[in-house]
């Protein structure tokens, strides 16, 4: 790794933090309904939506009611996406006359996009019509992201409020998040992306002449190539901002029409972490303790940065098996990477996209070196808390904070309290569920796939690498990341259904306990802080929180990782003649 790479990374994170601070404060003002320029411009639209939908903006509900609204809304959304896919053959904007999508793929995709996972068991340009992409998938890109934010905001309210029975209105939160945050940012980003050459058109495809004509297997001369097109920029913008990650094209952001230039690559990288980072400051603003925003962001960075470095360093190390063949490995392990991005940004993207629950790719993780591939996989298995999804990262990390405070809080000789709220058996029950359920889904799903011989065979590389592929798929689905290790043929019935179920479990069995905690916290009074209170706004707490995430969240996966990337790495080293 050269100094230039370090500088690139430092610059990326510095700009990210600089942009996140004001955005975070803005988001807090949005949800608290404070006046501002955005409100003056978009306020009439917001009020119009409420009038149309018959919503009273000042009517708040209990957490149970809130959760019911959220679940009902997401269920309807999923059904809608499912039906669009099934009947796209009869619907407009289908220039290439794509037929209806297979039921299990449609199920998987509907679940995938409503849960903000955006796992893609299909190839975008060859399966989904323009209409499906826009009215189905892009709409859910907005709504699933806004749902995640609403939950995080509700949890923040739980901490901020005292002795209140209500936690907010789901409809208001959903509307505000979409209208004031996601839409303007997406518009802005889509414009910038178009300027870089990302396509945005309703044309189905363009036909171009090949620079170098090819001869196919039957001996025919091929001189032309058909390039699929579509309304790409608009979907790419929200796919990155909403940590969705579902690409318009099968190869996602490795595709030149989704991500043509280094600058577009930088913009998209920035967009991936922007809102999750900003939400830390939103939280700080809402609980009236900006320091807590910094502490959460520092924790996320402390988890992510070492893994970025691990990934980049091992990728720059190259493939030792190729060194013997006299191949130059100075650019690092370039297999599966785009030359226009190179090793540094590919490694950064791989870790950033898995740290946040984005999952879009600009290189193929399957072709990374074993440890280079371990970094993204472990980031997912941490529970998507190092930045994580829009909203979901924040509430996931706060649940870990609840557990950290509970364990360590006792060590100062007081029963635990976090931001003035006493943590009791109820909060522990819910926080435990949040930690337990996604891990359980990953472990059990992977075990099932391993035991079914036909299913296991879907991993084309038997042995540790095949195991990594299966483990990665289930980790990605149950933690709502959506990133694919590639390699694994996940289009079969078992994977589409099993992964679909994992996505559902990983999303809603986490959201409901989080809302329950929000409700319980909102009801509690605030204990005033004193010298005897566990300080949760110090660097020491960052250490504690990182330790808790690693010990409680990630130790679970050590045995599984040992059988996948770790053994592969050790073999790799032996094969290269080195000492492991």
């Amino acid at each position: 790794m050269t100094a230039l790479v370090w500088l690139q990374y430092a610059l990326y994170f510095a700009i990210l933090v600089l942009a996140a601070v004001p955005l975070g404060r803005y988001i807090a003002r949005v949800y608290e309904g404070q006046d501002g320029i955005a409100r003056r411009v978009l306020g009439p639209v917001e009020r119009g939506i409420y009038r149309l939908a018959g919503i009273r903006a000042d009517e708040e509900t209990s957490w149970k009611q809130y959760a019911l609204c959220l679940l009902a809304f997401n269920l309807v959304g999923a059904l809608f996406v499912y039906l669009i896919q099934r009947f796209q053959g009869y619907l407009p904007f289908n220039p290439t006359h794509l037929p209806g999508v297979r039921p299990e793929i449609a199920f998987n995709t509907a679940v995938s996009f409503t849960t903000n996972t955006n796992w893609q068991a299909y190839g975008g340009e060859t399966t989904m019509s323009h209409f499906t992409q826009m009215a189905g998938l892009t709409v859910q890109n907005f709504l699933s992201a806004s749902t995640g934010m609403a939950v995080a905001i509700t949890l923040a309210r739980g901490f901020a409020r005292r002795s209140t029975a209500t936690v907010g209105s789901f409809w208001v939160d959903l509307t505000r998040g979409t209208l004031y945050v996601l839409l303007p940012l997406s518009l802005f980003l889509a414009g910038l992306l178009v300027s870089q050459g990302v396509v945005q058109t309703f044309d189905s495809s363009a036909t171009v002449s090949l620079v170098e004509p090819q001869v196919d297997a039957s001996g025919q001369m091929i001189t032309e190539q058909i390039l699929p097109l579509g309304p790409v920029a608009s979907q790419v913008a929200i796919k990155q901002l909403g940590t969705n990650g579902g690409g318009y094209f099968n190869t996602n952001s490795a595709h030149p029409f989704e991500n043509p230039t280094p600058f577009s690559n930088f913009l998209e990288l920035m967009a991936i972490l922007l809102i999750p980072a900003a939400l830390c400051f939103t939280f700080g603003a809402m609980v009236r303790s900006p320091r807590h925003g910094w502490i959460l962001l520092a924790t996320m960075l402390a988890l992510l940065v070492p893994l970025v470095v691990l990934c980049a360093a091992t990728e720059y190390g190259g493939n030792p098996a190729l060194v013997g063949l006299g191949l130059d490995q100075a650019a690092g392990n370039m297999e599966g990477k785009e030359v226009r991005f190179g090793t540094a940004t590919s490694a950064l993207w791989a870790t950033v996209t898995t740290a946040s629950s984005n999952g879009s790719v600009n290189s193929m993780h399957d072709s990374f070196t074993p440890l280079g591939g371990l970094a993204p996989m472990w980031l997912i298995q941490l529970g998507e808390v190092a930045f994580g999804g829009v909203g979901s990262g924040l509430y996931g990390l706060l649940m870990f904070a609840v557990i950290a405070v509970f364990i360590a809080g006792l060590m100062v000789g007081r029963t635990p309290e976090f931001l003035g709220k006493k943590l009791d058996a109820y909060e522990m029950k819910m926080a435990s569920l949040v930690i337990l359920i996604p891990s359980a889904a990953v472990l059990v799903g992977t075990a099932m796939a391993c035991l079914l011989p036909d299913v296991a065979a879907a991993a084309p590389n038997p042995g540790p690498h095949g195991f990594s592929e299966i483990l990665y798929a289930f980790s990605s689905a149950a933690n709502n990341n959506g990133s694919a290790f590639a390699g694994l043929d996940a289009g079969g019935r078992f994977y589409t259904v099993a992964l679909g179920i994992c996505m559902l479990i990983g999303r809603y069995w986490v959201i409901v306990p989080v809302l329950a905690v929000a409700g319980s916290l909102a009801r509690k009074p605030v204990v005033p802080p004193s010298a005897g209170t566990l300080p949760t706004d110090t660097p020491l707490f960052v250490v504690l929180l990182v330790g808790t995430v690693l010990l409680v969240g990630a130790l679970t996966f050590i045995p599984a990782l040992a059988l996948g990337p770790i053994v592969e790495h050790l073999r790799f080293a032996v094969a290269a003649g080195g000492v492991p």
Binding site: T415, T446, P453, L540, L551, L555, T556, P559, L563, L570
Partner: protein
């Protein structure tokens, strides 16, 4: 504070023997299922035992028979050690309960038909006494049950309850009327109204408490159990699914055999938080026990936990912050009176006064002017005792009427003798009040001679302790009936954070409510009946054993030594218990890292020998690696029993400092310690030829 002789040390062999027996009884799954972590270990132990029998019977078991046997034995030890810790903690209470039970003997009581000494008497067994009965108890007899003295005064030996051998006075009316069954009247007689039915007496409750028979999990313990159960489930899933992964690995790599059941169970037990799971209830019981050894009885573990959380201490001035008595420190003469004249009159007026204040005046007169004691009787003087009505005392001698008393009383006295209060004296009085002192006026007939400066004596060492409390974030508030001026002076001298002057029971109650409304947890002590409402409202309410029955019922702790300053110790004990719980949880969880390094390479040695690179400790064989980890896991429980019973080192400091220290010792220590320990066990096993 006296220690009861029954307080057992760890080395007590009889106690250990009893604990071993109790620990074996606790292996009963019907008992153990309440502790999810240890219950899983027990199931694991039973399962590996079956695997051993299977291996022995078929000769082709899961692994070699001796290996399964050793693993299974050490798993049983793990459960046993957890039980042993709990039994040890309970054992100390049991020994005390035995002593108390001896005090609760059947005695013959003299029941009175009416609450009068001359009423008809009927002899009944104490077990037949009911609430509302009246009994007559004379010198040398045991008091047959809890009650209230309604007539008479007696000295009572309460050593059976308090361990304090000096007798105490119990009399009707006022705040010293409560008597406890099982204590003995030493002199005089009393008539007692019984206030508790048999089986519900103070002694019964106390026995139940120290035995832990009525012990319920505290809220924080329940929450911790939930977390531990969740971790257990996660690790259960991680190990069970590992079998599937291993089968896949064997199938796809075509070499080796899947991980054995024995190793999986061993891995499971090593990963789940057995250390804290095994010691958790011992920590709670030991916390109660530490209270008991400080001669404080808590009515529930919840109260002990709350003691750690308290952030406001309400302290009564008299008895807690100051010694009960005031001391004369200066004679301040009125204009035209020489100081010695004042001292002489004051001494005369105090010679027959047996109160500590009176005696201190005599002492001061002697020290300042060498005035010796005089025989009042020989001088033909008549003593005028203090009465609540006149609020003066004094002496009539040779036609001189010398009086000392409160300002308004003396003013009235001189007024009656057609004298009046000089303005200068008034100035002195106000000055003294501002300093927190009590002025005592001396007058002869219609002439005010001057003022005696009486000073409250603040107990030694309190200032430092209050500073400690401040470091812990605890606010100390002095409660006093004095006027605000006096109160503020004493508060400043004692170093408390705040004070409530001119306190009445109502104001005290509303102060507690106010603090609680702002989210504070309030602790207080009290002894009188009028303290009862405030005691009932406070989060931690310590009633003095010398106090009334009403106060004892309203509080959630009773201090047998009746020492209000002990509130500070109670807070420390509560904090120490919570800290011990947190420290051992952290330790237990950070232990896991090392166990992965020991077991993972060993478990997959046949399929992926490359994983041997993770064998950082260089353990000599897969079997000894697994066994060493399991043995360490079992022995660490035993090793930490003394810590669990004694509590972690506690020094009052701010939370940030405590956290840093404990995180370093128990977090980082828990991460690193197992590495050398497992290595040592492995070397030992190797040396023994395993």
């Amino acid at each position: 504070m006296t220690r009861r002789p029954a307080a057992h040390s760890l080395a007590n062999r009889k106690g250990v023997a009893r604990a071993v027996k109790d620990a074996a009884c606790k292996l009963d799954p019907r008992y153990l299922y309440k502790n999810p972590v240890m219950f899983v270990v027990e199931i694991g132990s039973a399962f590996t035992t079956l695997l051993f029998v299977h291996a022995l019977a078929t000769g082709m078991g899961d692994a070699s028979a001796w290996f399964i046997l050793s693993i299974s034995l050490w798993l049983w030890f793990t459960v046993f050690f957890g039980n042993f810790a709990e039994a040890m903690a309970e054992g100390r209470g049991k020994a005390q309960a035995d002593t108390l039970r001896r005090a609760r003997k059947e005695v013959l009581a003299r029941r009175l038909a009416l609450p009068r000494r001359d009423a008809p008497v009927e002899e009944v067994l104490s077990a037949h006494l009911r609430r509302g009965n009246f009994v007559f108890v004379a010198a040398g007899e045991f008091i047959p049950g809890d009650g209230e003295v309604i007539e008479g005064i007696a000295s009572v030996d309460e050593s059976a309850i308090t361990g304090e051998s000096a007798p105490v006075i119990r009399e009707s009316g006022g705040d010293r009327s409560a008597v406890t069954g099982g204590t003995r009247v030493l002199s005089d007689w009393i008539i007692v109204r019984i206030t508790a039915d048999p089986g519900e007496t103070f002694l019964d409750r106390m026995i139940g408490m120290v035995e832990g028979s009525k012990r319920q999990k505290t809220p924080n313990e329940i929450a911790l159990h939930i977390l531990l159960a969740a971790l257990t489930i996660v690790f259960l899933l991680a190990t069970v699914t590992l079998l599937a992964y291993s089968i896949y690995a064997v199938r796809s790599s075509g070499s080796g055999t899947p991980v054995t059941m024995t190793v999986l169970v061993a891995l499971l037990v090593c990963l789940i938080p057995t250390t804290i799971g095994g010691l958790l209830s011992a920590i709670g019981i030991a916390g109660m026990d530490r209270m008991i050894r400080a001669n404080v009885l808590a009515t529930s573990g919840r109260a002990v936990e709350a003691a750690g959380d308290v952030d406001v201490l309400l302290l009564d001035k008299t008895g807690t912050i100051t010694l009960g008595n005031r001391e004369a420190v200066a004679f301040l003469a009125a204009p035209g009176v020489c100081e010695q004249t004042l001292a002489d009159a004051a001494q005369l007026a105090s010679l027959a006064d047996e109160t500590p204040e009176g005696r201190s005046i005599v002492v001061l007169a002697k020290r300042r002017f060498g005035l010796r004691g005089r025989d009042l009787q020989a001088m033909g003087a008549s003593f005028v005792p203090f009465s609540a009505h006149t609020r003066m005392s004094g002496v009539d001698i040779d036609g001189r009427q010398i009086r000392k008393g409160a300002v308004d009383a003396i003013e009235r006295f001189v007024g009656d003798h057609s004298g009046q209060m000089p303005g200068e004296v008034r100035g002195i009085v106000e000055d003294l009040a501002r300093q927190g002192a009590t002025p005592l006026l001396v007058a002869e007939g219609g002439r005010v001679l001057g003022v005696i400066h009486l000073k409250d004596i603040v107990k030694g060492g309190l200032r430092d302790r209050f500073a400690e409390m401040r470091k812990l974030g605890i606010r100390t508030v002095m409660i006093t009936g004095d006027n605000p001026m006096t109160a503020s002076a004493i508060a400043a001298e004692a170093g408390v954070d705040d004070f409530l002057a001119e306190a009445t029971p109502e104001r005290k109650l509303s102060l507690i409510r106010e603090y609680q409304q702002h989210g504070h947890l309030v602790a207080m002590t009290g002894d009188g009946t009028n303290d009862a409402p405030a005691l009932a409202q406070a989060d931690v309410a310590v009633a003095m054993n010398s106090g009334t029955q009403a106060a004892k019922e309203a509080g959630n702790m009773v201090d047998l030594d009746s020492n209000p300053t002990k509130l500070l110790d109670i807070v420390a004990i509560g904090k120490q218990m919570l800290m011990t719980r947190g420290a051992l949880t952290t330790f237990s969880i950070s232990n896991d890292v090392s166990k992965y390094f020991a077991i993972i390479p060993a478990a997959f040695a046949t399929t992926y020998p490359e994983l041997g690179a993770l064998n950082l400790m260089n353990l000599h064989s897969p079997q000894s690696a697994v066994l060493s980890a399991v043995i360490f896991n079992a022995l660490i429980i035993v090793g930490l029993i003394p810590l669990a019973l004694r509590g972690v080192a506690y020094r009052p400091s701010p939370a940030a400092e405590l956290l840093r220290g404990n995180l370093l010792v128990y977090g980082l220590g828990g991460l690193l310690l197992p590495f050398p320990c497992i290595k040592m066990i492995d070397l030992l096993l190797h040396w023994m030829g395993v």
